[in-house]
């Protein structure tokens, strides 16, 4: 019991971030018109590409001689970049076609 309380105590800021982000995530897209469902999904898809930062950190910490870890890290960076770049470009292409016509 005490260990759990300690754990909560030492990670309290993270717990706050998680709880607030959950509500924010729900609130922020709550009124999206169905027209924008696909671009929104695609945009959210690009945003979770933020996982690339983890890949960069992993990659940067690997000992230069450890080739297995280097290759896995490299793959992670490539895939993460694909997610981010591809995600944003695809979303932009979709939205490009939503130009207002007068």
């Amino acid at each position: 019991m005490e260990t759990i309380l300690n754990w909560i105590q030492s990670h309290i800021d993270i717990i706050y971030i998680v709880i607030l982000s959950v509500f924010l995530g729900i609130e922020v897209i709550g009124r999206v018109p169905s027209v924008l469902h696909t671009p929104l999904m695609s945009g959210a898809n690009a945003i979770h590409g933020v996982v690339i930062i983890g890949a960069i950190i992993v990659m940067g910490k690997v000992e230069p001689g450890n080739y297995v870890a280097l290759i896995i890290g490299f793959l992670a960076v490539v895939l993460g970049t694909l997610n981010v770049v591809g995600g944003f470009v695809v979303t932009d292409r979709m939205l490009e076609m939503f130009k207002k016509k007068k």
């Binding site: 982000s21 924010l24 950190i57 960076v77 997610n83 995600g87 932009d92």
Partner: protein, 482 residues
């Protein structure tokens, strides 16, 4: 100093994600919103590369990092620029899978670090493996396992969804699959839980067993779900990847990964539920797959009923030219045939002749919500010509001709009248209220849900067979010659 600068970078990153998502949910600001989030992402990425330090040590292996970024950018841009508009949903699924795989690989590498630490033999302390792992390590291990499992499921599932959408993979189910899946998932989680508290140099291989089991689970989870439900599945897997990214945030105490991941996890879950609501089904109903597996059998068993009548091109042309109001109902057939441009041409031609033309968009028409909107927008169809379902259902009563282009299940009256139908309860476009209905389809084959559509056999309905693009081209030519 530099470290606090990095914190500011992450703050900006998190803020742009929130603002970006907000702007993405309004038509006018959507494109800018995407750009805002992209800028924030760039700041966070380069901030990490140059400013991140751990115990006073900066990151190394720059050549590997930049090599990876470069390669990923080239492939990503090329793939995203080249993909056809109809293949967009597949592309989103593919990129989503990449993110999931990235999260899983991070866990693989981090686990490597930890198991290396334990590889140092401590032979003289008997039974050390039960006590040696402090609780703080258990927390790290839990996030590593969660990142691995969720990432791997998301990756494998997205690949299957991708294959299904482009028709390479067919629905597949074996008896007892649901139970098998549940057992597999439970076994995976229990093994992971066991490993968290009993990690030992002799059982590190179990980590890879868990990885394999998660991949298999991801495959089996998506395989039996019908192609028509893929949008929901992709949206769900999208939020999974968000949670996997957030696990990375826990691991590195990294706020931008945490906010980004959780935001997408929450927003993605809500989006998934909104999509299910549009089909008037619960999420469990979609996942257990009453549509794809068992229900198709019940539908086809009935077989075709009654007679349908065909309409000639010239009749259809005359019929539409002399109408006051025409509503076009697009569906997946339009997307497959790439007929959006000629469809717009038909619309302009009819408008010139004084016909009032609009489009009725069902929330789940096509293979993804908003699929039709994107497609028609590509052909420069004006925004205000698109009507949402409720709006369109009011309009049908006063409509002379409804032209259905490759849509089927979303106009099937069985959803309202036949409680035995698998789509019973799904809101539909009530096209049968219009005076005349013209249906363009390639054949009399049932749609994605695999059920007959009695609309086609009603007296006011006539069929115009053929590929949507070819048929519309002929129709346009016919109208011009009138």
């Amino acid at each position: 100093m530099e470290l606090s600068l990095l914190t500011v970078c992450y703050l900006i990153g998190s803020l742009t994600f929130i603002i970006g998502l907000k702007m993405l949910s309004h038509p006018d600001s959507a494109r800018k919103g995407n750009l805002v989030a992209a800028v924030g992402m760039t700041i966070a990425i380069f901030g990490t590369i140059f400013l991140y330090e751990e115990e006073g040590k900066k990151l190394g292996n720059y050549s590997w990092i930049f090599g990876g970024l470069f390669l990923g950018t080239i492939i990503g841009v090329l793939a995203a620029k080249k993909v056809k508009m109809t293949a967009m949903p597949e592309m989103v699924s593919l990129f989503n899978g990449m993110g999931g795989a990235c999260a899983a690989l991070i866990s693989v590498n981090e686990f490597g670090h930890i198991s290396d630490m334990f590889a140092v033999p401590v032979i003289d302390t008997p039974g050390w493996h039960t006590t040696v792992i402090p609780l703080s390590m258990a927390g790290t291990l839990i996030t590593i396992f969660l990142g691995l499992i969720i990432g791997a499921v998301s990756f494998a599932g997205s690949m299957i969804a991708w294959g299904k959408l482009n028709g390479k993979i067919k629905d597949f189910a074996f008896p007892g699959q649901q139970i098998f899946n549940l057992v597999l998932l439970a076994a995976t989680l229990i093994t992971a839980g066991y490993l968290v508290f009993n990690l030992h140099p002799n059982n590190t291989f179990l980590f890879y067993v868990i990885a394999a089991a998660a991949l298999i689970y991801g495959i089996l989870f998506v395989l039996p779900i019908g192609g028509a439900d893929m949008p929901v599945v992709i949206s769900l897997l999208n939020s999974f990847t968000g949670v996997a990214a957030a696990c990375g945030g826990f691991l590195y105490d990294n706020q931008v990964m945490l906010t980004g991941g959780i935001l997408v996890g929450a927003a993605g879950t809500l989006l998934t539920i909104l999509m299910c609501k549009a089909m008037n089904r619960s999420l469990t109903n979609v996942l257990i797959g009453s549509f794809g597996g068992s229900a198709s059998g019940a539908g086809t068993a009935k077989g075709p009923q009654g007679n349908y009548k065909e309409i000639s091109l010239s009749d259809a042309a005359v019929c539409m030219c002399y109408a006051n109001k025409v509503i076009i109902v697009p569906g997946y057939g339009l997307a497959v045939a790439q007929a959006q441009h000629v469809c717009h041409e038909l619309e302009k031609l009819l408008e010139e002749k004084g016909v009032n033309v609009s489009y009725a968009i069902h929330p789940v028409a096509g293979r993804m919500p908003g699929h039709m909107n994107v497609l028609l927008a590509e052909a420069d169809v004006s925004y205000d010509k698109l009507q949402e379902m409720e709006q369109a259902n009011d309009e049908f009563k006063t409509t002379d001709v409804v032209l259905i282009l490759g849509a089927n299940d979303v106009v099937n009256p069985a959803a309202k009248t036949d409680p035995a139908s698998p789509i019973y309860g799904m809101p539909i476009l009530e096209v049968e209220q219009a005076k005349t209905v013209i249906v363009n389809k390639r054949s009399m084959k049932p749609g994605y849900a695999g059920i007959e559509n009695e609309l086609f056999f009603q007296p006011k309905t006539s069929m115009l067979f053929g590929d949507a693009k070819a048929a519309l081209q002929k129709l346009v030519a016919e109208i011009k010659s009138l």
